[in-house]
């Protein structure tokens, strides 16, 4: 068969269906979305197979080799993230179709915005050019803000706050790019990687700080999380799912990539520790706030703040530690990103189902929900297991690998953080689940829902579970840092 270029296609396909969906309008947009995301999943799958099978893949737009041109490259990490993005997007497309059929607010711009969002994230995962990465960052940011804004009058303030935060982040990143370009005359990652060394001028250090800080803001790392809960908690549920599952992962991915590919020579272990402390603070503060929430979607949003903290434990665990520790850290964090992506999408989908059925998401009034929407309850339960990091789930595997990394690198304090964080997670997950066992108050009315509202979320939750039982291939694709 003919060799097709997977890398550009996985970016072009969503761009195409997004623009067509813009013309077609909401009535037909979903068909394009379903077709498009199915095709993307296939492409991502094949790309992962190729990367897992052998060397990284590179594509050079215009045939202009870097540093003159822009290079696109897919390594293991990129391939896995692409897989996650498409894998979450497809079930959510089905879900969104069913959701907006019941609850049209925000439907009229959802499909094109989602298409551009996916294109932007795929482009981000694949880009090896720090200025092109800036453009993709802005694409992701604007698409996400647009999606939040589609939540209607209630979420305008949240959207604007989110927009300003994300612009601050990308602005800081851009200054970093400007400094690096000024210092080295190129914006190509491999080129820069070969030139950034311990002996680099102070500019490099400053650029590193600016770019990482920018990513921290965009990923809502404590204390830059202020914008996340209102944005994720207030948006329409399909949007919340996309944002919590994928968008924050994009900026985290970039932070990790820059760290591994570029700034590791500059970084001292103490840098890693500082970032790790912020991550720990995020875990505790996010969980604590989640426990205090009365509304399901806000609880889930704060849970995202906490889970982001786990991702950033990657930095202390992978900065100048033994190769084995760094390896476990990379594998653990990647699995954590996947587990959280799938589980969190499932939870927001379930929350949306609850809202469609009861018209509210007040946790205290979910008594007897099991009798009416068992699938949704199981979705929340299974996703919860993955968040808590209990077997059998991808979350458990992730936690295992992270703890292993902490032990191998002799940083026991992060174990304490992870263990305590897991227990806090259990506390807020069961704060919701206990209502599944409470006696029903007759006052609550549950409208019956079409299957497509409940099952996509369930599927995602099960996926986060199944990944905990079979991750060998995935880690093989991921390879070594």
């Amino acid at each position: 068969m003919i060799e097709i270029e997977l890398i550009p296609l996985i970016i072009l396909v969503p761009l195409l269906w997004a623009s067509l969906a813009f013309i077609a309008g909401p009535a037909h947009g979903w068909k394009l979305a379903l077709g498009g995301s199915t095709l993307q999943l296939v492409l991502a799958w094949r790309l992962a197979a190729e990367v897992g099978g052998g060397a990284d893949r590179v594509h050079v737009p215009g045939g202009w080799e870097a540093p003159l041109g822009i290079a696109l490259s897919a390594d293991g990490l990129a391939a896995v993230m692409l897989l996650l993005a498409q894998g979450v997007a497809l079930p959510l497309a089905f879900y969104a179709r069913a959701y907006f059929a019941r609850h049209p607010e925000g439907a009229h711009t959802f499909w094109p915005l989602t298409g551009f969002l996916l294109a932007a994230m795929n482009a981000l995962f694949l880009s090896a050019d720090i200025f092109n990465l800036y453009v993709t960052l802005e694409l992701v940011g604007l698409a996400a803000v647009g999606l939040v804004a589609s939540g209607g009058a209630g979420s305008v303030a949240a959207a604007l706050r989110y927009l300003l935060a994300t612009l601050l982040g990308s602005g800081s990143y851009l200054l970093g790019v400007a400094l690096l370009y000024g210092a080295y005359g190129t914006v190509t990652l491999p080129e820069l990687a070969s030139q950034v060394t311990e002996a680099s001028p102070p500019v490099a250090m400053l650029a590193a700080g600016l770019m990482l800080a920018g990513m921290a803001v965009k990923t809502a790392l404590f204390p830059f999380h202020f914008w996340l809960p209102p944005a994720h908690g207030g948006a329409p549920s399909p949007v919340s799912a996309l944002l919590s599952a994928l968008v924050i992962k994009a900026s985290f991915y970039l932070a990790a990539r820059l760290w591994l590919a570029l700034f590791l020579p500059l970084a001292t272990p103490s840098w890693g520790q500082v970032i790790g402390v912020l991550g720990a603070a995020a875990i505790f503060w996010g969980s604590f706030m989640a426990l205090r929430q009365a509304r399901l979607k806000m609880l889930i949003a704060y849970s995202t703040v906490a889970q982001v903290g786990y991702l950033f434990l990657f930095f202390p665990l992978a900065t100048h530690t033994e190769p084995a520790a760094a390896q476990s850290a990379l594998q653990g964090v990647t699995l954590q990103a996947l587990a959280h992506g799938l589980a969190k999408a499932a939870m927001f989908a379930a929350a949306g189902a609850v809202i469609l059925s009861t018209g509210h998401d007040r946790i205290m009034q979910l008594g007897g929900i099991t009798a009416h929407m068992p699938v949704t309850v199981f979705t929340l339960a299974i996703a919860g297991v993955s968040l808590m990091g209990l077997p059998p789930s991808a979350g458990f595997l992730a936690k295992w690998l992270l703890i292993d990394s902490a032990i191998v690198s002799g940083q026991w304090w992060w174990i304490v953080v992870m263990i305590a964080g897991g227990l806090l997670t259990a506390a807020y997950v069961f704060k919701v689940l206990r209502h599944a066992f409470l006696r029903a108050e007759q006052s609550e009315v549950y409208k019956p829902l079409p299957r497509l509202v409940e099952w996509p979320g369930f599927l995602l939750a099960v996926a986060s579970l199944a990944l905990g039982l079979r991750a060998a291939e995935l880690l093989n694709v991921l390879g070594t840092p």
């Binding site: 803000v145 647009g146 927009l163 602005g171 400007a178 000024g182 210092a183």
Partner: protein, 101 residues
Amino acid sequence: MTPGLLFALTGIALFSSGVAGLILQTHLLRKIIAFNVMGSGAFLVLVGLAQRSGEPDPVSQAMVLTGIVVSIAATALALALARRLLNLTGEMRFPAEGQDD
């Protein structure tokens, strides 16, 4: 001190004052302007630093052009949201709640 370097230094000044404004200003229009100041600062550093030796650098100029378009887009969206907020709350600033956490 070449003109390019001068541009870069000006850009740094603009950027940091823009950041301060973006965070500290409460009036939304001022926040948005501050964002543009910040952006222009970054662009100045980008072109200035790259051309500090005097000879022109088309790549950095092209990148700045792209950046300008992006920031125009962002500004438009920000203005639209701010305007909508004004219509909803009658105020050109964020509602108090949500500020605390």
